[in-house]
Symmetry: D2
Amino acid sequence: MSMQQQHDQLATLAARFREVRQRTEALCEPLNPEDCVIQSMPDVSPTRWHLAHTTWFFETFLLKPYVKDWKSPPLYEHLFNSYYQSIGQPFTRSRRGLLSRPTVGEIHAYRRQVDRAMMRLLADDAVDEHPDLARLVEIGLHHEQQHQELILTDIKHVFSCNPIFPAYQEVVTQVSLPDRRCEAFFAFEEGLREIGKAASEDFAYDNEYPRHRVFLEGFSLQSRLVTNGEYLEFVEDGGYERPELWLSLGWQTVQEQQWQAPLYWMRSDVGWREFTLSGLRALCEEEPVCHVSYFEADAFARWAGARLPTEQEWEVAAEGVPIEGNFVEREVFHPIPCESADTDSTHAPRQLFGDVWEWTASPYCPYPGYAQPEGAIGEYNGKFMCNQYVLRGGSCVSSRSHLRDTYRNFFPPDARWQFSGIRLAYEISPPAR
Amino acid sequence: MSMQQQHDQLATLAARFREVRQRTEALCEPLNPEDCVIQSMPDVSPTRWHLAHTTWFFETFLLKPYVKDWKSPPLYEHLFNSYYQSIGQPFTRSRRGLLSRPTVGEIHAYRRQVDRAMMRLLADDAVDEHPDLARLVEIGLHHEQQHQELILTDIKHVFSCNPIFPAYQEVVTQVSLPDRRCEAFFAFEEGLREIGKAASEDFAYDNEYPRHRVFLEGFSLQSRLVTNGEYLEFVEDGGYERPELWLSLGWQTVQEQQWQAPLYWMRSDVGWREFTLSGLRALCEEEPVCHVSYFEADAFARWAGARLPTEQEWEVAAEGVPIEGNFVEREVFHPIPCESADTDSTHAPRQLFGDVWEWTASPYCPYPGYAQPEGAIGEYNGKFMCNQYVLRGGSCVSSRSHLRDTYRNFFPPDARWQFSGIRLAYEISPPAR
Amino acid sequence: MSMQQQHDQLATLAARFREVRQRTEALCEPLNPEDCVIQSMPDVSPTRWHLAHTTWFFETFLLKPYVKDWKSPPLYEHLFNSYYQSIGQPFTRSRRGLLSRPTVGEIHAYRRQVDRAMMRLLADDAVDEHPDLARLVEIGLHHEQQHQELILTDIKHVFSCNPIFPAYQEVVTQVSLPDRRCEAFFAFEEGLREIGKAASEDFAYDNEYPRHRVFLEGFSLQSRLVTNGEYLEFVEDGGYERPELWLSLGWQTVQEQQWQAPLYWMRSDVGWREFTLSGLRALCEEEPVCHVSYFEADAFARWAGARLPTEQEWEVAAEGVPIEGNFVEREVFHPIPCESADTDSTHAPRQLFGDVWEWTASPYCPYPGYAQPEGAIGEYNGKFMCNQYVLRGGSCVSSRSHLRDTYRNFFPPDARWQFSGIRLAYEISPPAR
Amino acid sequence: MSMQQQHDQLATLAARFREVRQRTEALCEPLNPEDCVIQSMPDVSPTRWHLAHTTWFFETFLLKPYVKDWKSPPLYEHLFNSYYQSIGQPFTRSRRGLLSRPTVGEIHAYRRQVDRAMMRLLADDAVDEHPDLARLVEIGLHHEQQHQELILTDIKHVFSCNPIFPAYQEVVTQVSLPDRRCEAFFAFEEGLREIGKAASEDFAYDNEYPRHRVFLEGFSLQSRLVTNGEYLEFVEDGGYERPELWLSLGWQTVQEQQWQAPLYWMRSDVGWREFTLSGLRALCEEEPVCHVSYFEADAFARWAGARLPTEQEWEVAAEGVPIEGNFVEREVFHPIPCESADTDSTHAPRQLFGDVWEWTASPYCPYPGYAQPEGAIGEYNGKFMCNQYVLRGGSCVSSRSHLRDTYRNFFPPDARWQFSGIRLAYEISPPAR
């Protein structure tokens, strides 16, 4: 790369840096300082922590190594480290909600301080001394986009614990509903396929590499997401009371947690209601079901006589499909019904990207030949490859520019606070109904 | 009482109402909204909850019964009820820290709304229709004073969880230290005594009634509080490693909680430090030991060859002693050394009031003939008479006007986050040392 | 004491030793080896542990100090120590049920070995060298009698966990029922009284000393125990659903443990049944209620418009009353109805001794001037004086020779597996009904 | 199949039935009744439960459907059901150790009663009416063999909790040790392979079907099991203190459980010792490491610069290898060193079968096209396919006749009480050392 090209690349990166960082702050605008402190369960982090941790990431991986005499505010390294053991003992995750200081205002000042230093770094003539710089900024921006999604996901959980049911933002535009369900399935033939990220391309996480061959039997994939209406049939058919529909661990969880419906569904005198980022409202049957665990997705599929797709199947189906859909940029913050009922003329399943993360049947494992990066950055993905399942496709609170067809998200099978939903698969072809 | 007297009484009460309510808010001035949200353990309540709950108390026991068409903000009755089962299901105590709404600002608005209505009620000509009114306001004000103390006690715990160790308020005035310890003990003869609140006097809680006879053996009471220096000797003598010094439950707690010193003591390279409302600082050996549990107070007494006084003994010693000392009005927010070394010339033990609540050897029980009041107000004291111990005398975060020699505070034997300390007692006379 | 008197005393003691030790083994005869291993909850100990621990007690406090070169089987000192920290780290209490070795047979062999050595020691001419010997044997025998009671109490709990509901022993003799309830109350006048064990008398535990003065207000005591029938009225009146009847901790326990009736009561299609040491059978309304916690006793008393007696009141009422009643020697192993309905002609409350331990309103505390014995024997009582309540009078599984009017038993307020019941008290005189 | 063939098949099955059932009882001969009752952790079942549950299996799946008017002892169906929800609510697993009745003797009587009925059933002329019979007996016998293994695995855990460290059986024969380590690796080329059980063959569990194609990259497999000596190097290199070697969940488990070595290893003044079914003894460095969790196996592999094999890789390597090794029939009950050091001349990895179950890197998932059987038998495998890892090859406490190269065992990644060990794998070829 010529020096000019490098500088152009850095200028583009600097622009993107500004944009991503500002979006994080824009997402927090509807929130009060009080909102930003609360940790409603160990999996949830307070907004103020997300604001600081994403900043800490740039500070730790870029400013400390590349800016001479860089000084961090005392204890920030400890307080805002998430899980990077090689950087030092992080402050205990489950205690993040015990901290009020630094305040939200002080954290915004910290952000500005780091942003200024980052802009200087990206404008620096000496940047060619740091070949890793662009790659690390790229990782930092994708990391921040993940936390943008978590800010919304987590504040939804926080608000749901309050009997007042605050709204993050009232969404006024009414979404048009489909007049009928699209029922088609897409069939894929058996064969040796390739999945995973090919080398020397655009940004991807380490867990998407290497591209490799897999043998797949023939399968069919549902053309759209499972809806609330369909899931309601499962609930009303005693889905949560029939152990034979569940994995053993799933049934144990149903009993212990007393699950009776997806997270955020509430039964009331006037029918089912659902808590959303726009507050509590009547359940819309046409919308994709959301906030279900892997256990629920798996049980629903068994009840429906189907199964969940593997991540290999999903990726084969998604390859080459344009990344279009209901993302955070649309500012609905909730999944919407499958907009086109006219599935016969389409050439790919709908709603593959956006709306809800789709649970796959695949435990989160290293791909054959996977190599964990050296150093702290290597702690990003590999060490979590145990007792989690892969989800694909992104959700209504993901950024469009953050997603790819090879993107592997992962959560434990009992997690429900993510915007996670269901798409069914069958062997070869769907059974007659 | 004549109508004029009644109106005078109400005018006095109104002035006191204003003063107490304003003091609560003054105590919260050094706090940010973020600080006011946090619940660092189930026993601690967020500041915003204290601000709202004390207001709820006036609303529930005065405005709802006495003000026509009084309307409470939706759900406040549920959210800010503490434990009054007869008023409805309170919001779960351990989840108070999950709420950010109503915000601190909204709660201040709620306070103002209730205060205005209370002032109208106290100015109302029709007040003679409500014979209970003055008594209920009186309870409400004492209730609010208890919560003022808890606001400080709780925020100290909240701040102690933050490795930054924020200060609530820097106290600059240096307290003068005594040049020597006062060692004297006061001896009291055996006999039939009376303790408890006599009827038809000033305000007291139900648990202080009735005044009754008790037979006491002769005893001696330490003339001052046990100091940090003395407690440090116990620590350094292996006090926390010797099961024979402890109650069985106490020893179990020491093991499980890994106690090695009082709460807020920290061992550092440069010696012991103590977290205070003015931040972290070197341990002052002359100050009274503070933030010890009953278990620690009892073990220390056994180590010292003494015992804790019973609440009857304490009250007999305190009867008639002027209520002077280091209270919240002094704005030190921390116990201070016994100021007079000249104990020979005094006629009563020092430091009986203020500085630290003194653990007694007495389980919290009803007095003979105790009658629990009817209705929700009856839930104030009686139902807690189990597995708690009585503490006497008030602390450096209590209001002077809140205290009496008959006042019975109570906490479970493992509680340490209160400003609680130790005074020793002996049978008849102290042994030679 | 002359040498002859000493030898006579030892001969008597030896005979008593044989008798008490044999009774322990007789109590275990209906049990299989499998039964003797199980620990159904942390408070329960396996029968084999009781058999060994009582033996360990004689070995530790008598054979080791007094028999030259005494050798204990390896690890028995560790395995069968209960809680004597000064003797060494006891094997963890809650893990007693994980041990199968030494087997029950090996433990019986251990008992025989210790018994033979004890008999030699008691026959020894050199016994006058050990002035403590008789006192320690006496303690050991009372200790063993406590464990005899626990063997029955604990095996009842073990069997109750088995849906087969095994019977310890079928009791065939039908107990005659009273034709009417005895309703009288006994009134006692106020005054300065003395309670506690007087010095230089027969055996008593340290916690019964010293005899001391207490001032009591006038009170009345129920002439008999509360019956199942009366308690059933409380249950059917919603006793377990009304928080206003309960101490705060009690109500919390009711909710957490989902209590709906006394332990061992079971609701069935054909009415209430009760599990007993003779198996499952219909609830007998005339029998004293049994297996209630302090919380339930207290709530029942509140519901009945009464209260529980203090231990001082109980002892004043029991002083001089003959120790007669339904003890373990009767081999019914269950409380029986108050046999005489003719209460007018009696001069003391009935059922004070035997049937069920009676909860008092008194937290377990040291008496004024209480001195804990030196050494390991000092761990017997004093260290448990916290968060427990005193029970009085003994039960249907206590030995008559083990009981006294000054005897203080103690358990935490949520304990229900003991044979514990209720007697009511009132201020001065019972209210009209 | 001709009638004669059917009768011959049943006669063979009957002989096998007798043999397997007798072996179970032979394995219990060294145990006392007390031993057979204990459940040392929720995963462990008491011996008496294993004896009864295997019998219940034949009763439930064969005698109840096929024997007219078959009567089960009351409650046995409830007590001895493990997890078959479709048969009724099983007795709570974690409470199995609370039961002493039916006694071990009564359970042996139950076994004899069921055995007699089974023998009659297998001799019955009408057997051709029941086409499933042979298959169900076959499953029952394999099921019983699994529980034979668990009887030994579980009693080892039970005995390990006893500080006396009882021996199940003293093994006197000294195992000859290898004079040097066998270091070779076997390389396998990439390609499309087939794994899984082919249809219409001998017995296999449902989870081994269907046979299917997988694409494998080239890999190498260690020629023998990892030894105690090698694992000790990992321990002494700080393996248990270095988070970078562990999966995130694994590190969390290490911290919470305070793991410092494999289960049953104990550090003593005279070096490492290991608890075995022959009691406590010095650690033998040449023996395969045993009783490690998946987390430890994975961390060891990372430390060694290798990885664990996938189950597909393992099966490809094991296909066609004779099932020879150290099984339960050898009665050593402990893994033994790799006997031949002469690895150059062998054509397959050693110790694939027997000694220890080998952790694979494969989460336990359904094979493509897996179909869960109908009815209660369908609960055997499928519902456990979540958060478990596959182990292959059998152990020193497995029956040889129970194993196959397609056999899939599975346990959660933190399980250590199984006889589980490690074999390493590499991409393509092992790195230079």
